[in-house]
C-alpha cells in the first residue's frame, strides 16, 4: 500500500535530491512513498517530512534548536 506525505526542503536542491529522499523513505518504510514537495528556506538546510502521521526532521533549524536548549541548560 503506497503512502503519501509532505516534504519541506531547504534550498538549494535538485530533482536528484528529491528522488534520493523518496527512495530512502520507500526503503525505510518498505513501501512506495510519494511526496508533495515544497521549498522552505527557514529550515536552513535538510528537510522535514510527514509520512503516515510521523514527523521526520533532518533540518539544521531543529539542530540549532537542540543546540540552543543544550546551551541554556
Amino acid at each position: 500500500m503506497a503512502l503519501t506525505g509532505t516534504l519541506r526542503i531547504a534550498g538549494p536542491y535538485d530533482e536528484e535530491t528529491i528522488r534520493s529522499i523518496t527512495g530512502h523513505f520507500s526503503a525505510l518504510l518498505n513501501t512506495e512513498v510519494t511526496f508533495s514537495v515544497s521549498r522552505d528556506d527557514s529550515l536552513i538546510g535538510g528537510f522535514t517530512a510527514i509520512v503516515d502521521n510521523k514527523l521526520y526532521d533532518s533540518s539544521i533549524l531543529s539542530r540549532l534548536g537542540r543546540l540552543e536548549q543544550h546551551l541554556t541548560k
Binding site: I9, P12, L28, S58, I60, E68, T72
Partner: protein, 158 residues
C-alpha cells in the same frame, strides 16, 4: 516672872481646843482635797503614760509601716528596673533578629537576581550564537551540503 499654873493649863486647853477645831474644820477637807488631787494626778500620770505608750506604739507601727513601704517601693523599683532591662534586652534581640532577617533577605534577593541575570545572559548568548549560526549557515549551505546532510540523516535512521 510669875508662872500661874492656871494660865498654863488654860493655854494648853486653848491649844488643844484650837487643834480640835482646826482638825475638824481644815485638816480633813484639805487632806481629802489633797488625796483627791493626788489621785487625779495619779490618774493623769497613768493616762499620760498610757498615751505615751500608745504614742510609742504608734511611732513603732509608723516606723514599721514606713519601713515596709520603703521596702515595697524598693522592691517595686527593682521589679520595674528588671522589667525595663528585660524589655530593653528583648527589644535589642528583636532588632538584631530583624536586622539579620533583612540582611539574609537582601543576600538571598541579590543571589536570586544574580542567578537570574546569569541565566538570562546564558539564554541571550545562546540565542545570539544560534541566530548568528543560522545566518551564516543560511548563506553558506550549498546543494552538496544539503545532499550530504540528507544522506547522513538516513544513514543514522536507516
Amino acid at each position: 516672872m510669875d508662872f500661874n499654873l492656871l494660865d498654863i493649863v488654860q493655854h494648853i486647853l486653848n491649844v488643844v481646843v484650837l487643834y480640835v477645831i482646826l482638825r475638824a474644820i481644815l485638816y480633813r477637807p484639805v487632806r481629802g482635797y489633797m488625796l483627791a488631787r493626788e489621785e487625779a494626778l495619779k490618774q493623769q500620770r497613768a493616762e499620760a503614760d498610757r498615751y505615751l505608750k500608745d504614742a510609742e506604739g504608734l511611732k513603732a507601727q509608723s516606723q514599721k509601716t514606713l519601713e515596709e513601704a520603703h521596702q515595697a517601693a524598693q522592691r517595686d523599683a527593682d521589679s520595674k528596673l528588671e522589667y525595663t532591662r528585660q524589655m530593653a534586652s528583648n527589644l535589642l534581640e528583636d532588632a538584631k533578629a530583624e536586622a539579620r532577617q533583612i540582611v539574609e533577605e537582601g543576600r538571598s534577593r541579590i543571589e536570586e537576581e544574580s542567578k537570574e541575570s546569569r541565566e538570562e545572559l546564558v539564554r541571550e548568548t545562546a540565542a545570539l550564537a544560534v541566530d548568528l549560526a543560522a545566518r551564516i549557515l543560511g548563506r553558506e549551505v550549498s546543494a552538496a551540503d544539503n545532499h550530504r546532510l540528507i544522506e547522513d540523516y538516513f544513514s543514522k535512521v536507516g
